[in-house]
Subunit: 323 residues, 4 copies
């Protein structure tokens, strides 16, 4: 093994640069040349790449985004595009490829793998919805951003006394997953959680808020995952039941940006290095993840066929804390 | 002068606690008893108050919100309510009153003043829309929160390569004022600014973005003040002209929360102390503000009759930076 | 079981308030009265305590420190003091006690346990040096503070060009443990790590830095755990070998403060709730921890007799990243 | 005027990149070519430079450091070096030069000016010790970093109960100036301030702390500017008087790094744009600053001959707040 490629694909996630640093450092340690392919599978198709050596990654660990860009393309899924990608991998003489990204990216990685390329996946997505790893890179940073938002809203919620209680609804990311909203509920002063994994019961939420108002609390903070709907629709439902206006926040794409947390950088460092180690050991067609605090590789087949299990214990805990 | 009251009124703003600290410390320095009236004019009406001594304020300077709460009430504006407030001021034997708040609060302060109460106003509102001061307490913190959001969105904006450029629209607070949006545009990587003080020209914004896309930039970040409309309406207008989907962020009430910046705490310290100094000197019916970097008191009449002048120079600068 | 006590003891750690919230919420869920004992074992000795109900903990999750204070006292270790503590537990009619703290606190918990008190420990210390848990509450926050410091120093390190390279040495906390320094090295742009678990080789560190200078890097950032010495001594050793002045940072007690991270709050929430659950189930004389991402209880005897194992894998990874 | 140069010199300061953005955007607005000279006067001497166009600065406003590096060199002060610099300015056909930096940099700017070069200075230094401007770029960010440190130390100071009070001494930057320490004292929970502009009276500081301990406060936080000595020396003096150990923090170079605050970015934007405007208007040999909230240009002669006046009013306010 002399030369490996690395790409970041799909939605960007904070910590991808920490992962790149580890891939390059580990590659150098194993005397490999490391090629950074730009804009995900787009770069594979179009032959956009550059050498990455130690000095290229020496200062990037704190950056959001990804220095080799990420991208989305449908062309890669078509035969012609896919074959172009294979050709470029051959022309580049890559002995292995590290693919950093989310669910879609892992599917692409498996396809390349089935075409004979030595591929190792690394889970990077704020949604944390990938089977085979307890944590995906970027998730912790996103949760901290949401948590900070809840903290700030709590400041104003507790400061202002009005004739009616004030209720705030915050829409957070996660696509089909409620992981960000659920973990941020464990971390924040939150009174209700709405996630796609659980049926939404507006009546119950309103009743719980009203019970709290009677106890003397004069505000409520609600976290909702984008998977359950739009913040304005949910707010209307609650207003109907509460009888007064609720305030909305739509956090948006800032959840994908910002300085990654120490946790995401450490995770990226471990997984990036392990991905290279696995390729060097001759492994392929796997994704490195962290399971039960241990870094290990899982078959991409498993990653791509199983849906991540919902954490019922955490959900129960949110109910206790929201009560 | 033996005893003064202090209250925070209207929308809370980060730095109000720093102001309270200064009022209490300056009061103590002048051998005054300081009474904290709770929930703004509500506390005056209902006789809700407590003593504030040095130890009560020794640790509050970093807190968001306000330890004596703020509030909004219409009752105070009616004769009966207003008279109750006057009675309570007399019963409390207050020789002076410091009112920390925004435009509405300064109007209430003037009314009390006209009824013979020695009142000194302090401008506290993130909107920074008060005549008589270059900066209101809380504004700098709000701008930093918006700026951080723009930074984070920039991370993902620059990281992801797609078939179309990505455009992000961020709605920020300010009521009828565009100050937060305008100052945050000077501070951030922003491509267009929409504020109520200027006519909104969607065609020109779209044309400018397209020009930038042709230069090679593949994203755009737009800041809009709530005074120009709702983020979803503005986004639809832009989508029509750009031909692709734009992403929305509605920052919401988090702009009022969080640890105040050093600037807002220093401002609150200066104005809070000066408010007491002015009362001790026998001044009344004024608001202390910072003009041209100098702390001075302005007649509440002037504060409440003049509209804050729009900063044309700053607006011209945003156009240069957005270009 | 009708009534439990909770205390925070030893060095404070960010996330202790999140833990308290969970203890009170879980206690309420199980219909228990929860008594907050103040200032750790001092409060047990002196009978200082107060009731904690849901509204007392509704807004504390974001606070640093601990609302019931923590403390250190030698009196508790003496027979007389210890007996007073036992008496107070009896007088308070506590059916169980949750002790949140570090190694010293767990020893105290075991002693109470041996005297017949139902005790459940929760690991809270930034040092992360407690056996029986992969993570102690507060550690993640401390690592993020150190990481932010490294990021900031990197900014100036890379900005300034001088005639000699610039080397920065940062002393971080951890007592006898190098965990904070080691994890922050995985997370940051660090060139050398000095920890008490490994022999310090100044010659090798200097040689590695010189090699990097020759590659074109003109600065170096070094993390040292307080367990290896004082930052000024270590700096002198390095200056002798490098031939130029190095810059020092002594981070100090700020590593124990600040808004806890989402991770520490989630950890505190899980462990706090589980501690109550365990007591309710009749368990005692244990510490709840998180092992391999699963919350479980370990015998206090084991916690207090075994030294936490050094993570050799992480250390190897730091060497790869620092190279 | 067709072509201007820009350089950042001396100690780097957060906000320098915002200033560069504004210089390039304003230059482009005036149809000027903008040349970024690298590493301050070093780049002038060695002819290291590169073109800067709009896309080069579109994303830099949030970065710490400076993308064209800064530097210090004694060669520029010698005749031979200075003449090389003049030659390079001629060879580059620069019609004007913007110099961003601190006191030393302004002296160099004046020298170039006296040799016939059209130069405009911009004050950038965290120390805020430059005559002719109320605020230098970078100062606000440094004060926020110090303030955050004080906040964190307050968390642990208030959390831990011990047999003796806990006193924390924090050494901050500022060279011969106490501005950072003084402003951060206005912003934080600080009990004593030591700055070079005022005589240090250890006895009085200790007496004030003891008075506060008697009031019931069991900790103290002290800010000292590096201009008064080393944190360990000052700590020994205090320990002698207090009779117990004090804790030390040496903040170090992190005060120069990190994401610049909105204030510093806005200031950099205004001053950078105005520097270009002034050059275009034919002005030279001046420094643009902000005085009384108005941007204006001051003669470099004045900047370099007068010492910045100490703000006595702010100092008096610190005494009131520390009491």
């Amino acid at each position: 093994m002399k030369k490996i490629g690395v790409l970041t694909s799909g939605g960007d996630a904070p910590g991808m640069n920490a992962t790149l640093r580890a891939v390059v450092k580990a590659g150098t340690y194993h005397n490999l040349e490391v090629i950074g392919i730009e804009a995900g599978y787009i770069g594979l198709l179009e032959g956009r790449y550059r050498n990455l050596d130690i000095l290229d990654v020496e200062e990037i660990v704190s950056y959001g985004g990804t220095i080799i860009k990420t991208g989305r393309t449908k062309e890669f899924q078509r035969e012609e595009g896919f074959n172009k990608a294979l050709d470029n991998i051959k022309n580049l003489e890559l002995d292995g490829l590290v693919v950093i990204g989310g669910n879609g990216s892992m599917k692409g990685a498996q396809k390349l793998s089935e075409a004979g390329i030595k591929v190792m996946g690394v889970p990077g997505t704020i949604d944390n919805d990938i089977t085979g790893t307890d944590y995906a890179i970027g998730f912790d940073t996103a949760c901290n951003i949401v948590t900070e938002t809840v903290d700030r809203i709590l400041d104003t919620a507790t400061a202002l006394v009005g004739s009616t209680p004030r209720v705030f609804v915050i829409e957070v990311m996660g696509r089909h997953s409620g992981e960000i909203a659920m973990t941020s509920t464990l971390a924040g002063s939150v009174d209700a959680l709405l996630i796609p994994e659980q049926e939404v019961d507006y009546d119950q939420i309103s009743a719980n808020l009203k019970r709290k108002f009677e106890l003397g609390k004069n505000y409520g903070i609600i976290l909702m995952a984008e998977g359950v709907g739009k913040v304005d629709e949910i707010s209307r439902e609650l207003e109907m039941r509460l009888g007064f206006k609720v305030r909305e926040t739509l956090l948006g794409h800032q959840q994908r940006g910002g300085r990654p947390t120490a946790f995401d950088r450490v995770l990226g460092s471990k997984l990036g290095a392990e991905a290279v180690n696995q390729l060097v050991k001759g492994e392929s067609s796997k994704m490195v993840g962290v399971r039960n605090n241990v870094v290990k590789a899982v078959e991409l087949k498993v990653v791509n066929s199983d849906k991540k299990k919902f954490n019922t214990k955490n959900y129960e805990l949110t109910k206790m804390l929201c009560y």
